[in-house]
C-alpha cells in the first residue's frame, strides 16, 4: 500500500515537472511567435533556436523556425529546419508546401530526391518501424495459434505463409530505410556562394559553387571538410562551417 502511494506520488511529481517544462516551452514559443509577427525574423529565429537547443522538438517549433529563417533570407537554414520538421511530421501539407516553396528558390547544384527517398520520407522512422514489425508480430501470433490449436494448422497455412512473406518484405524494407537513415547524411549549404573544391584543402582548385540552400549528399569527411555530391554531375569538398548536416 505504501509502495503504491509512493509510486502515485512519484508519477504526479514527474507529471508536474513535465507540465512546468511544457508551460515554459509554450511561453518561449509564444514570445518567439510575437517577434515573428512583429517582423523581427532574425530575433524570432534566435528565440526558436533557444528552445530547440534545450533538446525540445516539435513539428510546429521547427516549422516556425524554418519560416523565420526564410523570412530572414537564410534559405539554407530554413530548408534545414523544414527538413528537421519533416522527420517528425512528414505529411504535414503546410510543411511540404513551405519546403517546396523554399527549394524552388534554390538554383544551381542541388540534390534531386529519387522516388525511393521520397517514399522513405513519407513516413517517420518510427512509423516505418511499426509498419515493418507489425507483420512480424502477426506472423508470430499465427505460429503460436498453430501450436496452441493444431486443428487450425491447415486453415491457417495460407495466411501464415503470406504473413511470413510480408514479414520478410517488411523487415527488409525497414532495414533499407534504417540503413538510409543512419548512413546517408545530407549537407545543406547555409552560406552564400559556397566554393566547393576538388580536394579538402583551401589551396585545392574550385570545382563548383553551391548556393545557399543547396542540398548535397555527404560522401566522406576529413578534418573540417566534407565531400559532397549532387548525385548528378558535381562532386567536391566544402568546409563544415558552411553547411548544416542532417542525419
Amino acid at each position: 500500500m505504501n509502495l503504491r502511494r509512493f509510486l502515485v506520488t512519484a508519477l504526479l511529481v514527474v507529471a508536474g515537472i513535465c507540465q512546468l517544462r511544457a508551460d515554459d516551452f509554450t511561453a518561449s514559443f509564444d514570445q518567439a511567435n510575437k517577434l515573428y509577427e512583429e517582423g523581427k525574423f532574425r530575433d524570432a529565429a534566435v528565440a526558436y533556436e533557444k528552445i530547440a537547443v534545450t533538446g525540445a522538438r516539435s513539428p510546429a517549433l521547427l516549422f516556425n523556425l524554418g519560416n523565420a529563417y526564410f523570412k530572414a533570407g537564410q534559405m539554407g537554414e530554413a530548408i534545414a529546419a523544414y527538413r528537421a520538421a519533416e522527420m517528425l511530421a512528414p505529411r504535414d501539407p503546410d510543411l511540404r508546401a513551405n519546403l517546396q516553396f523554399a527549394r524552388a528558390r534554390v538554383s544551381g547544384a542541388t540534390l534531386k530526391p529519387s522516388w525511393l527517398h521520397r517514399a522513405a520520407d513519407a513516413l517517420t522512422l518510427n512509423e516505418w518501424t511499426l509498419l515493418g514489425l507489425l507483420p512480424a508480430w502477426a506472423w508470430f501470433a499465427l505460429l503460436i495459434a498453430r501450436q496452441l490449436k493444431p486443428a487450425l494448422k491447415l486453415k491457417l497455412r495460407g495466411i501464415t505463409l503470406a504473413a511470413g512473406f510480408v514479414t520478410v518484405l517488411g523487415i527488409t524494407t525497414l532495414g533499407l530505410i534504417a540503413s538510409q537513415h543512419w548512413n546517408e547524411h545530407t549537407a545543406i549549404v547555409t552560406a552564400r556562394n559556397t566554393v566547393v573544391r576538388y580536394g579538402p584543402l583551401i589551396e585545392s582548385s574550385e570545382a563548383f559553387t553551391a548556393n545557399d540552400g543547396a542540398e548535397l549528399r555527404v560522401l566522406d569527411a576529413k578534418n573540417e571538410w566534407l565531400q559532397v555530391t549532387d548525385d548528378a554531375k558535381f562532386t567536391g569538398w566544402l568546409r563544415t562551417n558552411s553547411v548544416r548536416v542532417l542525419n
Binding site: G55, A56, A60, N98, W137, L148
Partner: protein
Amino acid sequence: MSGLRRTITGFTPGRIQHWIRLAVVVAALVALTARATTFSAALDRDTIVLGDTATLTLKFDDGQPQGTPQLPQIPGLQISYSGPSSSFSFVNGKTSSSVTHTYVVKPTQVGDFVFPALTLSIGNETLKTEAIKFKVVRAATPTPGSETEQQQLALLRSVLPKKEFYVGETFVLELDLLIRNGVQGLGGTDLPGLQSQLQIDGCTAGRAVEGTRRQTTIGATAFTVIPLRIPVTILKPGSLKVGPLDGAVVVELPGRSQRDVFDPFGMFNRGVQQRVAVSAPEVTLTALALPETSKPLSFSGAVGQFKMAVSAGPTNVAVGDPVTIRVQVHGRGSLDAFTLPEQATWKEFKTYPPTVKTETTGDLGLEGTKSFEQVVVPQNAEIKELPAFEFSFFNPETKQYETLRQEPMPIIVRPAGATPSPTLALAGSKPEENKPAQDIVHIKPRLGTVTVNAAPWVQQKWFLAAQSLPALALLGAFLWRRRADTLANNPRLRRQKQVEQVVADGLDELQKLASEGQGDEFFATVFRLMQEQIGERLDLPASAITEAVVDDKLRARGLGDSAIDVLHELFQMCNQARYAPEQSAQRLEAIIPKLKMALKELQEVKS
C-alpha cells in the same frame, strides 16, 4: 731543466708563421663582422604593361634581417614572394656576403605608382631604402586591320553580337584571343583572370566557357582564334560599359630556323618563351527597359524566345482532390529569371506553390527547359474544365511581347463524400487563397506535442528487447505443445501427472479438513489418496486397491518395511474411522506427515 728547454725550442720559425696566418684570418673575420650592412630595393623596369609582371628585389649586403621582409599592401598591385637567394665572395682578401629577397609584382590597374621607402632594423642598425616610382600602362591596341596589328604576336578582342539589348535579355560576350600562326601558346594564358574584370555594373556574367578554336586572317597574317564565351544578363537599363580588359599570354617563338643534323625532326627545338600582354578596348552597349504599355498580365519576367507545353492529370476527380498541372517552357533566354505566371482565371481552384525544375542544354546554359508542376484543387462540382493557361515573354528579336496560350482542358469533377473538406468550410474567409501562393504558409500558433531528443525506437534497448517477446512466446507454445503431445501418447505418464496433481490437491484438502476436525471426510480422503497413488504405481484401477495389495505387490516392488508399516497403519485408521470417527484436530494433523512420507516412498517405487 730539460723540460724548459724543450718548451723554448718549440717556438720554431714555422710555428711562428702558422700563428701569424691564424691571426690574419681572425683579423679578417673580425673585420668582416665589423663591416657595415647595406640594404637596397630595386624594380627591374620603370614601366609595366598591364597584364605583365615585374620583379622587385630587396638586397642585403653583409647582413640580413630575421625572417622575410613584409611589404606594404599597395592598391592596384598584387605582390607575391618568390624566395631568397644568397652569395658569398672572397676577393683579394676581402670577404663579402649578400642576401636577396625576390618578389613578383603584378599590377591590376593602370596608373603611376610609388613603392614606398622601406625601413628595417638589423642588429643595432636601422636601414632604409629609396622609394621606387614606376608606371603601369595598358598594352597598345593597334588599329584593326593595320600593319601593326598584323605584326602582333597575340591580340585580344571583345565581340558583342549587337549594341542594343533589353533588360532581362541574355547574350554571349565573346573574348577572342588571337595568336599569330607559327607562334605557339603554352597554356600560360591568363584569360580566366579576365572574367574577374567583367564586373559590369548592371549585368551579371556567368561562367566563361572556351569555345572551338578557329583560324582567321588579318591582312596577310593568319591567326588562331581562341574564343572565351561568357553569358551576360542585363539587369538594369542605361548605358553599360564592358572593359577595357587586360590579360597576358605566354607564347613560344620559333627557335633555330635551320634544321639541326643532330635533331632532324626538331624534337629538341624548344624556341624562346615570351609573355605577351594583351588588351581589349572598352565597349559601350545600351540596355533598354522593357515596354510597359503593352505588358500582358501573364508576363512574369521571361525575356527570350520560348515555347510552352501544358498537361494536366488526373482529369476525373472529386471535389478536393488534387490535379497536377505540368507546364514546360522550352527556349532560349535566362531560365532562372522568370516564374510561373499567376492565372487570373483559376479562381475556382485552390492552388499550391509550384515545384520548379530547370534543365539547361549547351555549355553556356542559355537554352533549356523549365518545368513547373503545380497542384490545383477544384473547389466545387460545377467545374467542367481547367481554364486556359497563358504564358507571356518579351522577344528581343521582334521587340514585342508574345503570349503562348493553352486552351481550356475538359475535366470531370465529382461531388466529394459526405464530409466537406475543411478548405470549403473556410472558403470565403480568405479570398486570396484562390491566387497562386506567392509566400510561405504562416507560422503555427501552437507548440503541439514536444519530445525531448527521443531516439528512434529501433535505437532504444527496451524496444529491441520487446521484439524478443513474440519469439519467446512461440518457444513457450512449442514446448507446451511438445509436452501435451507426449502426455497424449503416454497414458501411464498422463495418469502419473494426474495422480501427482490429485495428491497435491488432496494434501491441501487434508490440512483444511484436519483443522476443521472433519474426521470422516479426512479419512475418506486419506484412503482415496492411497488408492490413487498405489493404483498408479501398480497400473491398477484405484478402486481395486485394498490393504491386501500392500503386502502382495508393493513389497515385491521394493517398498521399504517402514513405508509398508505406515501404509498398514493408515489403512487400519481409515477402517477404524468408519466405526469410531476421530474428531481431534491434533490427531488428524499428526497423520498428515505420515501420509506424506508414505506417498513419497510410493512415488519412488518402480512402476
